[in-house]
Symmetry: C2
Subunit: 337 residues, 2 copies
DNA sequence: TTGTATGCGTTATCAT
DNA sequence: ATGATAACGCATACAA
């Protein structure tokens, strides 16, 4: 039904090659015929067929976004940033909300590959696994298209990482707690992934830097799915009943910190007087609590901008840094002294 | 680099037509050759080229998702639900995070059309405007592909609305407040769109049903962008300073209700004793507040499921209902008596 | 500068 | 049941 390049060429009295040249603003076309062709094109609202174009160029200017858990406000924000920026560069985004399980992520990557996306963004540090053979599917995919890691790093050709120095930020956050006199700092995390391990290391660094002994019982792992604030609250209440003492909580995600606030309310503790709390991500959750959450801002929007810039650079054949690190910033609010 | 259908046909000793038939499991192929061809296909991991397929079929099995503000947890959740479900049906999702402005939405729809998506989902009620001529771009797009409205309704061929009865739900929420003795109920909203108007009507219905006089000064409009909890808090503080009295707040979005909680804290009022609060969407924000927010659950996941089912039905040529209405449910929590 | 002709990898329409 | 071949709509190498 819609017209094709032949229709335009006929109406403009030129060949389809000329129309194509005008469309791709080739320099090898006289100003006169360009005007003439453009007039016809705009006159009938002609738009080149994207499928045919894709077939010829083997590209539809599309970036695949792999997002485990788009309902997480942090990743949702990243999604919005990335999509907006890619679109501004003329690229569309194909979304794949994979589950966190390895098989689902592999499937997501594979599906995007069959769609011949020009590049992929793996969102969230959960993509890189500790078991190195589990990362083979990333190496494989990277042979075909550039892969950008949001909050991850991976030494592999055609894979580019853009991230925040979580270890340092986590260290500084923990030091903030230590320097305000806290000694029993609970570390709550729910993921054993790349950045999860970095944050844990930062926590340990801080303790070492202040000569505080590491207490394993203060490091509390939360399964991937147990992110409900209620579960965190109940978990902390259980720890309290078991006699575990703590005067601060540092979490790998804001939502876990929200749970800590819930716990404080349930346990009749004042925040921050009885319990200091620091979250991570500086998401919109921080403003919902009372008191509001001190949190680590890991520069999401800068990271997203840089991801898009890097992707564009790679696609244009320019040399790009394989790893870009931003520095986190602690946003102090009411949940700390 | 990857093999094509000719490679397969050669290796299997058949014609490309037969390979194509096997691929699209046509009944007109003997079990014997099917086995033979499948063996070759799986042996070398052949996958048909999506672009060529798209060109031939004029479809790449893609649904366009238009999402104003993906950073809103409610829409982000919808995004995740829709994508998962469409994918389960073999459709990929092209994302377009349009701005709220009309021109941006029009542009988003247009862009998706040039990509020849098989259908579009317009997320959020902000897509349907009161000015009817501003909806022409939807009518235009609907001529080409089916359009599903998430939380919207629009009497137009090939446009299908799936929504919650916001008017009724808002009425019931307001009645809940009235029946607990509140009389000065502030209604906070930040959008004049379809569902925004419905909620307002429900609010008015409730007042009428209980014989309470409508006070225009209690209906407080918030510009689209003024969704920060701080701004809501300050706005309410300002209203208080102006001498406006109110003992309850009902909002069109949870985030606005969070702002109301902030106000109560700032003003030294107890929730729900001095001030009852009800939000809308039953989003994750509800659990972050203290007390937790009573909110209207507008059945997002049911709506998403139904959107996908309807889209699939339309694409398969079945007759589908143009409008499907779910009933909201009030989830009572600590912010109301 | 412009036009001709071919390839891109499918699907679908004819024959056989 | 299977095979040859023509679309599908564009980009481009090559010719003019």
């Amino acid at each position: 039904m819609p017209l094709n390049i032949y229709d335009i060429s006929r109406r403009a009295g030129v060949s389809i090659a000329t129309v194509s040249r005008v469309l791709n603003n080739s320099p090898h076309v006289s100003e006169n015929t360009r005007k003439k062709v453009m007039a016809v094109i705009e006159g009938c609202g002609y738009v080149p067929n994207a499928f045919a174009r894709g077939l010829g160029l083997n590209s539809m200017q599309t970036i695949g976004l792999l997002c485990p858990n788009a309902s997480d406000p942090y990743l949702a924000q990243a999604l919005a940033n990335l999509e907006r920026s890619f679109r501004a560069h003329g690229y569309d985004c194909l979304l794949s909300c994979t589950d966190k399980e390895l098989s689902a992520r592999m499937q997501g990557v594979e599906l995007l590959r069959t769609r011949h996306v020009d590049g992929m963004v793996l969102m969230g540090s959960s993509f890189i696994e500790a078991e190195d053979r589990n990362n083979d599917f990333i190496r494989e995919a990277a042979k075909a298209v550039p892969i950008l890691l949001l909050n991850g790093s991976f030494p592999c050709d055609n894979v580019y990482g853009v991230l925040c120095d979580d270890q340092r930020a986590a260290c500084e956050a923990t030091q903030l707690l230590l320097d305000s006199g806290r000694r029993r700092i609970l570390y709550l995390y729910h993921s054993q992934n790349y950045s999860g391990r970095k944050k844990l290391a930062g926590y340990c660094d801080a303790l070492a830097s202040r000569g505080v002994e590491l207490d394993e019982s203060l490091m509390s792992y939360f399964g991937e799915d147990k992110t409900s604030v209620y579960q965190v609250r109940d978990h902390l209440l259980a720890l309290e009943r078991q006699g575990l003492e703590f005067d601060a909580v540092f979490t790998s995600e804001d939502i876990l910190a929200v749970g800590a606030v819930k716990y404080a309310i349930a346990a009749g503790k004042k925040v921050p007087d009885d319990l200091s709390i620091i979250g991570y991500n500086n998401s919109s959750y921080c403003l919902c609590c009372n008191p509001e959450l001190t949190s680590v801002d890991n520069k999401l929007s800068a990271i997203c901008d840089h991801i898009v810039a890097t992707m564009m650079g790679v696609l244009e054949g320019r040399e790009m840094p394989q790893k870009t690190v931003f520095t986190g910033e602690i946003i102090r609010r009411g949940s700390t002294l």
